[in-house]
Amino acid sequence: MPQTNMKININGQLTALPGGFDDYIDPTRAAIVELDMHGGHLDPEPDCPAPCIRGREIVGDVNRFNEACRSLGIPIVHIVNTYRSGDYEGKQSAWRRITEGHYSMLPGDMLACTKNFGNLALENTKWSSLVVENKPGDIVVNTKKRVTAFETTDLDLVMRALGKDVIVITGIMTNCCDLCSAFYAGSKDYKVIFCFDMTRGSNPSDEAAAGLMVSRYIGLNTTSEELLREWRAQKAAMNA
């Protein structure tokens, strides 16, 4: 039973959460699944392999959100793309193939934009190291090789071990790894909450489209403020 007038985004408008979604907003069922907040995308240096410039905006916010979740007893699962060495594990990833392929056919030196892709997520480098805080009790899943958090990882096992069936997606990129993982989670019958302001993607328009897809087919699209307010109220009611 909601304890606040929690709002979710429906068709681009913040709207009161209808009845019937108590299972989604139950903090005892939730885990944060935070994607790819690592140096391979977020390092500020010019040799950052695949920069997500908009993602750098939310590092502090994600840290604060995670801290608030920890205080509520909600586990944080950091998903980290990691490749062993060289670029053979990542070379065939579709996003990379189509980016390199397309750029190779354009005039000028567009391919230069992709020259550091091979360094993305190399293990034991800053390109696969978290740039957000990883605190005791957090869980790191660092065998992600493709854009989903599920394929080649033990995320499903971790969620079962934690006894959690609500996945709260944060991190980057909204319109790629976040959206893909949300589709995966939805088809695996997880209840998905897309914590929209704790994500960033290519640009605001593509982020909004991803949020729209989530809200129409996968789960609830809301904000950290709405979610934390509701969770805190539920915790307070439990402790009263």
Binding site: N11, W95, I98, G186, S187, A209, Y217
Partner: protein, 230 residues
């Protein structure tokens, strides 16, 4: 090398016409001997106004049939992917889309729904003897809970051609999953309509960036008819 001037949609930087020649960087995406068609959601239950209203996709039926025919002639297997749920609602008990999609104003996906033996499970497109039916899909992602990956393996197919109904849900979910499994993906943009019209362009855009090549049916058919090889 492709024998035809086949193009793919490209949105990363402005190019004339918004499209770019597929050759030569994507030769492996056009290997006809590795292709399989994944036709998603073209079932009566999905395309019937009174049941689950994706009826706009009915206008694609003739074009999908023609495209599939060309593929069959080239030896490309057609896999018709659809739902066929167990009786009494078990398969949809934990499904989210019966709850989530109605929030945005669509008619709720019914439950019980499209049960075994129902005419609603029949495909609206032509299913020929050589085709393959995959009726174990229960969720948006055609790989989840099905033997699709096994089927593609035994067929020795690495390139999937996506078309059908619901690019914004079935297409995105299956496309993302296929690319994560390293299938080369071709999305036939004019044979794949969204359930929500405002998401069609956004989906093809996302596909061009992350999932695969977004191509036109006539161009892909022409390339396939050549056998795809010099």
């Amino acid at each position: 090398m492709p024998k035809t001037p086949i193009t793919a949609k490209f949105i990363r930087v402005p190019v004339e016409g918004g499209r770019i020649r597929v050759a030569p960087a994507f030769d492996d995406f056009l290997d006809v001997s590795k292709m399989a068609v994944l036709e998603l959601g073209m079932q009566k239950g999905n395309l019937t106004k009174d049941y689950f209203p994706a009826e706009k996709s009915t206008k694609l039926i003739a074009d999908v049939n023609a495209f599939n025919d060309g593929c069959r002639k080239a030896g490309i297997p057609i896999i018709h992917v659809g739902y066929q749920f167990r009786p009494n609602g078990l398969d949809l008990r934990n499904a989210q889309y019966t709850r989530i999609t109605p929030l945005s104003g669509k008619k709720p996906f019914p439950n019980p729904a499209m049960e075994q033996g129902s005419a609603l499970c029949e495909f609206s497109t032509e299913v020929k003897d050589v085709d393959l039916r995959l009726l174990s899909a229960k969720r948006h992602n055609a790989f989840e809970g099905t033997d699709l990956e096994f089927l593609l393996k035994v067929l020795n197919r690495k390139v999937v051609i996506l078309l059908g109904a619901g690019i914004d849900c079935l297409g995105m979910a299956t496309g993302f999953c296929g690319m994560c499994k390293d299938y080369k993906t071709l999305v036939v943009e004019d044979l794949f309509l969204p359930y929500f019209e405002d998401l069609g362009e956004e989906c093809t855009k996302a596909c061009t960036m992350f999932i695969g090549l977004v191509v036109r049916a006539n161009e892909l058919s022409a390339e396939i008819s050549t056998g795809g090889k010099e």
